[in-house]
Amino acid sequence: MLRQKEGPGADLVIRGTRVLDPAEGVDAVLDVTIEDGTITRLEPGTADRDGLVLAPAFVDPHVHLRTPGREDEETIASGTAAAAAGGYCAILAMPNTDPVVDSAATLGALVETARREAEVAVGFLAAITRGQRGEELTEMAELAEAGAVAFSDDGLPVASAGMLRRALQYASITDRLLALHCEEPSLSRGGHVHEGAVAAELGFTGYPSVAESVDVERSLSLAAYEGQPLHVQHLSAAESVAALRRARDAGVRASGEATPHHLVLTDEAVRTLDPNLKMNPPLRAERDRLALLEALRDGTIECVATDHAPHASHEKEVPFEAAPFGVTGLETAFAALYTHLVEPGLLPLEILLERMSAGPARVFGLERPRVAVGARANLVLLDLQRRRRVGDEPFRSRSRNSWLLGETLTGAVALTIAGGAVAFEPAAVAA
């Protein structure tokens, strides 16, 4: 289902490195031999470099590649290069492009382009409703045949409960997941910032957490009623997390994702009025952030998703209220979470690696990147001691609306191998 350009299969030996593949139960110092892009030998080694970890490369279930329509902001080539720089071997692109990916023709063109240009494997989601208007179902069976990995109206909720029910029913024949952006528009309308003390003080129209959680509750109820699986995108509110946990405990096949920015920041950050801190859903309160972290730790939330949303600089260089929602994230996700969650002891590294790779692969039915003899090499080499300031090196993404600009982060990607080919190798390591 996923496509990437043909690259020469890597031939290399990574010696004396700590190998960490939680899903495979591997944590050992090994010499890893890769021949023509396939892992051929795993042998005990002796550690010769501190702070390096070799792990299964990451999988991002939520990326905006802006193609077709806004190739000035991102292309398949630039977005996948950014993904490779972030340690990803596979990403899933959302269909809210211009035109919307709601026909086999549009989807087919993207799949073809990915075959020529993608530095890492890309899968495309197709829309749930035509034009994401929430009125008519897309031709899901044909879209699935044409390569749709899953379905989503991301950017917008499926506002009508009746429409969502029909989508759940029909998607069942395609064996594809529905991934939902949950938002009750009558509660979020006009909102730019989480409804709380910060919005009250700054004067922003509030976007309350209940705008998300009522839609999460309703969607999960429908999934339970129809007996169909459901994936909830970019969870932000404690109440949504609680609803997801209850549904899973009750046996509903529900999964969820959280973004690095919601796991690290709260609405306090918005006080700077920096438009690079504006996203949908908005940054929420500390209790929401802690609920997300707890759910990521205990597995209620199985995926870290960047919701990488590139925007042209002139669109973000405006007053906060006029700026579009969205921030980039592919190139900084691991370092942001390592610095803010793993280093302070809030999240074990093993769990972070699982939620960034095996978790999303499992939820979306993708092949799991793994460190095992015979497996295609989808690996990331992480330098856990290297510190760098975000923005000092140019981004591979065409956009630079990062929420981390100017911040110094620990943990850098030293090598990415995607689909057996070297997809990213910074100059420093090559030397």
Binding site: E201, G203, F204, P208, P275, E317, P319, F320, E321
Partner: protein
Amino acid sequence: MTGSIRLVKDELRPPGPPPKRHLISVADLERDDVERLLGTARTFAASLERHVKKLPTLKGHLVVNLFYESSTRTSSSFELAAKRLSADTLNVKSSGSSVDKGESLKDTALTLGAYDPDVIVIRHPQIGAPQLVARVTDAHVVNAGDGKHQHPTQALLDLYTIREELGRLEGLHVAIVGDVLHSRVARSLVQAFRLVGIHCTLVGPPALLPRELQAEMTTDIAAVATADVVYVLRMQSERMQAGSNYVPSLREYSARWGITPERLRPGQKVMHPGPMNRGVEIDPRVADSVDSLVTTEVRSGLVVRMAVLYDVLTGGPVGVRALAAAEVA
């Protein structure tokens, strides 16, 4: 000179220019700043009682007034304040300028910044516009109202008015009544009152009191009874369109929260930032009563804005003597 480059540690570098002084939010101010500004305003008020009202203080300085929203009081008083201080003024309004042609705020600010203005006074419907102007120009920026966020000079002129009328600030009780949710004036006042020790109560319909605002809030209009000053906010009719349902109707609003003579006791002062909707949030008898400070607020606006322009440019207190010296120069 060849050989090694000597690395200079940050603390050994010569200090850069001090950060530009802006007035963007009341949150930027300390109590001392408020005292200094009110003191400066008082000095200017004395100077305005002279026969020749113009002071040479800011001669040769350029003040740009950049207004993206309609305004009578604020724009006229900033313009007059700059002129009374002998600054050159340039007034740019969004209608009739390149903004009509779709020019972005950044580009408009860069364009005006090319004239090297000393101060840019900006009013804009969006929160954060003054910060953007401060980022892209070298001018001192004064916020004349940004969306629902802040209107710091209004808060200062209200403090000035209250002190002139009641003789003090600390320990007073002010009730702010009306649409707090959409009011940048209320947000600025809450912070300013906290700074000077005024006890403040916010009164209004439930949906117009911001959730989690750090302030004393009530829906009960009876709370105005104990206030020294009742500060009435404008009901913004554009916010009250049918279907928004913040309140069922303006009629119901006036019946429940309108400030009428019956709801006041003699001697209670009434303030309003204007423009007033007589008969909606304020009864005309109240607006025209001797206890109404509405026109006093307008007069205060001139001297407070003179003080703000002077203060951002000089960064220090202004004494009578310094003023006299400036007049001689």
